[in-house]
């Protein structure tokens, strides 16, 4: 990791654009929940299906746990979004984003035979947009850009120069 990857301008630009777009999406999801006093993850959690559903139900079983889950989700989304856009603490932001999207995916897996109350705007079989966004984040992890474009550049500069 000490060598900065040698991307062409096109490669670097597109990777950074992808990072910003995903960051924007996270940031808005987080802020819109933060500013809606009625928002709660309870309905989403209770709508869970599949082999991990009882794990997600347990988040909703107790108002105190639910409050913590809501808090972590909202601030997780906001901080990950800011991290991706600014290129700040990028590695940890990307990893956290993958974990969060993984949970969304596993709570509502688009498997054959499952139907959910939460409306979807498309048609999915095994693969849905959560999984694709998660994989896109994994790509960003494999092709780091923050050492070049992003606040992390200053950190890496000190560390490796």
């Amino acid at each position: 990791m000490t060598d900065q990857p040698n991307y062409s301008n096109w490669q670097l630009t597109l990777l950074v654009v992808l990072r910003i777009l995903i960051g924007w999406h996270f940031l808005y999801e987080g802020l819109s929940k933060l500013l809606n006093p009625d928002w709660s993850s309870v309905a989403f959690l209770l709508d869970s299906k599949g082999f991990l559903s009882s794990f997600f139900y347990s988040f909703a079983s107790n108002p105190d746990i639910l409050r913590i889950v809501d808090f972590l989700n909202i601030w997780g989304l906001i901080l990950i979004g800011l991290g991706l856009i600014l290129g700040l603490f990028s590695r940890i932001s990307i990893i956290a984003g993958i974990v969060l999207l993984g949970m969304y995916y596993l709570s509502h897996p688009p498997f054959i035979g499952y139907t959910f109350a939460v409306p979807t705007e498309g048609s999915y079989l095994w693969i849905n947009k959560n999984l694709i966004e998660m994989t896109a984040l994994a790509v960003l992890l494999a092709f780091p850009t923050w050492q070049q474009i992003g606040v992390d550049r200053f950190i890496f500069k000190k560390k490796y120069s």
Binding site: P37, V42, L66, L86, V118, F154, S161
Partner: protein, 520 residues
């Protein structure tokens, strides 16, 4: 990282600053877009909600007026509804408590046990119980003695007196108030006797089985001055209270048509209840069951499934229309209709019953210029809900409440033309447990609301409406106030149901003579 004075040699260049902060302007764009979006949403909400003065306060559960002496209750009838009411009062048979406890242990999502344990104490005791089936009487006694809400560790103490004749229970000086949960044909005779004995009354719906006894009961309750509550626990449903505000604020304009429905499709829903294995002429006091009804030889079917026979039942009208009607009477204060016409038949449950399993009744309310249709089937569960239709919009009422503007509304014409109001998106929606009334609700929330998922676990508590309804009655006994479903609303409920029944049975339209209080 240790060497912090490095920026002279490998210092941060201008190039570093540009590249390091290159994406910061994106945040500026984000803030701008976010501001625009918020402004748009706020404008939309304000323009829809303007002129609609709906309170956005969450209905609080009123404090318990539990001070003072314990109120001593007697329960008459402990079949299906009796135990449910006793539970709402705070008394459940130890076996039932244990079953809930184990269900909760097996599934952490099952909160019934916790909710029952946390249900507020109403400062009452059950001093007497009465049932003419010995098995039920025994269960009633054990439930009533379960003051501590215990399961299998229950130890009997303080057992109430068991009567097999309700007249003896009513003569008991240790009873201040009675709960009547018997078959329909016993409601009024028992309630009349209770009023005459000076006991406060919580009576299950329908209030009466015949027209004559409806008048007698009203007279008896008014003369005795006892606190009477009819068992329409829907009076406590918050969405109905909000629906009333919607009507009062003319949000949907003049209501001209109301459609209420019953949609059931199970034997239980069609009153084919299980027959208890210990039931026999030895354990059931059959003549006491028959009472004023025409004599019939002992019949387990008639005893357990009495709702299927006119001799003891009021059919769909009394059992299920009354709930729907009372909801509308609560929302619009409709009173007794001017006329009723019914039709229907026994189309699915050809099991010897005399009451119809499909019924339609059309009620006219001349003063309000509106029709209410009751449409019921016991053999299809297609959910049709309750809908109030007005010139400017329509409202669907259930546990949640949703209001849509009508595409041809006069009141909303301008906003419809401007595209501010979309007839396919609710202009108002209310979900209990949420803090506010929403003018713009996301599709996701609509889905969840419709499926009753939103309010189940939020805010910590789900509340049993029957508990609230009983509590209101108990509070009124202590304070002398009038309960929400008192003898006058009960009178309106009973007469309305009887009009529907008479029309069906006699095959003619019936009218209500308001001046002389007579069904013609």
């Amino acid at each position: 990282m240790n060497d912090s004075n490095k920026n002279e040699s490998s210092g941060i260049s201008r190039r570093d600053v540009v590249k390091g902060l290159a994406t910061v302007p994106v945040l500026g764009a984000f803030v701008y877009a976010f501001y625009r979006k918020r402004k748009y949403t706020k404008q939309l909400r304000n323009s829809i909600l303007e002129n609609i003065n709906l309170s956005v306060d969450e209905q609080e559960i009123p404090e318990i007026t539990s001070s003072g002496e314990k109120i001593r209750l007697g329960i008459i009838g402990f079949g299906i509804r009796g135990p449910q009411i006793a539970k709402a009062v705070g008394f459940l048979h130890p076996e039932d408590v244990e079953a809930m406890k184990q269900a909760a242990a097996a599934n952490s999502g099952d909160t019934r046990y916790q909710e029952f344990i946390e249900q507020p104490n109403l400062n009452v005791e059950i001093t007497a119980v009465c049932d003419i089936f010995t098995v039920y009487a025994k269960r009633a006694r054990e439930a009533a003695a379960n003051i501590e809400r215990k399961g299998k560790d229950f130890e009997s103490s303080n057992m109430p007196v068991v009567y097999d004749d309700f007249r003896e229970l009513l003569a008991d000086n240790n009873v201040d108030a009675v709960i009547i949960a018997t078959p329909d044909h016993w409601h009024a005779p028992m309630a009349i006797a209770a009023a005459k004995a000076g006991k406060h009354i919580y009576c299950e719906k329908p209030m009466s089985w015949s027209v004559e006894e409806t008048f007698e009961l009203r007279k008896a309750v008014k003369e005795a001055g006892v606190v009477f509550q009819l068992g329409h626990q829907g009076r406590q449903t918050v969405a109905y209270k909000k629906a009333r505000e919607v009507i009062d604020n003319h949000v949907i304009g003049n209501v001209n048509l109301i459609e209420v429905t019953t949609n059931r499709n199970t034997p239980n829903g069609a009153w084919v209840y299980p027959i208890h294995p210990q039931a026999s002429p030895d354990t059931i006091d059959w003549p006491k069951f028959i009472g004023q009804a025409p004599w019939h030889d002992f019949s387990l079917e008639r005893f357990f499934r009495w709702r299927c026979w006119w001799d003891y039942s009021t059919g769909l009208s009394g059992d299920l229309l009354t709930h729907e009607y009372d909801a509308m009477n609560q929302i619009m204060e409709l009173g007794i209709p001017d006329s009723a016409v019914s039709s229907g038949g026994i189309y699915h449950f050809k099991d010897g019953r005399t009451v119809p399993d499909v019924l339609h009744t059309v009620f006219e309310f001349d003063e309000y210029d509106l029709t209410m249709i009751y449409s019921a089937t016991l053999a299809s569960s297609k959910d049709r809900g309750k809908v109030l239709m007005g010139h400017d919009g329509y409202m669907e009422v259930g546990n949640t409440l949703t209001v849509y503007a009508d595409r041809d509304s006069t009141q909303y014409r301008e906003k419809l033309n401007q595209g501010i109001i979309n007839p396919s998106i609710p202009i108002l929606s209310y979900v209990p447990g949420k803090k506010s009334i929403d003018a713009v609700t996301s599709a996701t929330e609509q889905y969840f609301a419709g499926r009753g998922l939103v309010y189940t676990y939020r805010g910590g508590k789900r509340v049993d409406t029957t508990h609230l309804h009983i509590k209101e009655w108990i509070d009124c006994i202590r304070t002398g106030d009038t309960p929400s479903c008192n003898i006058d609303q009960g009178f309106e409920e009973a007469i309305t149901a009887h009009m529907g029944t008479i029309s069906y049975r006699e095959g003619r339209r019936v009218h209500w003579d308001r001046e002389n209080e007579k069904i013609l």
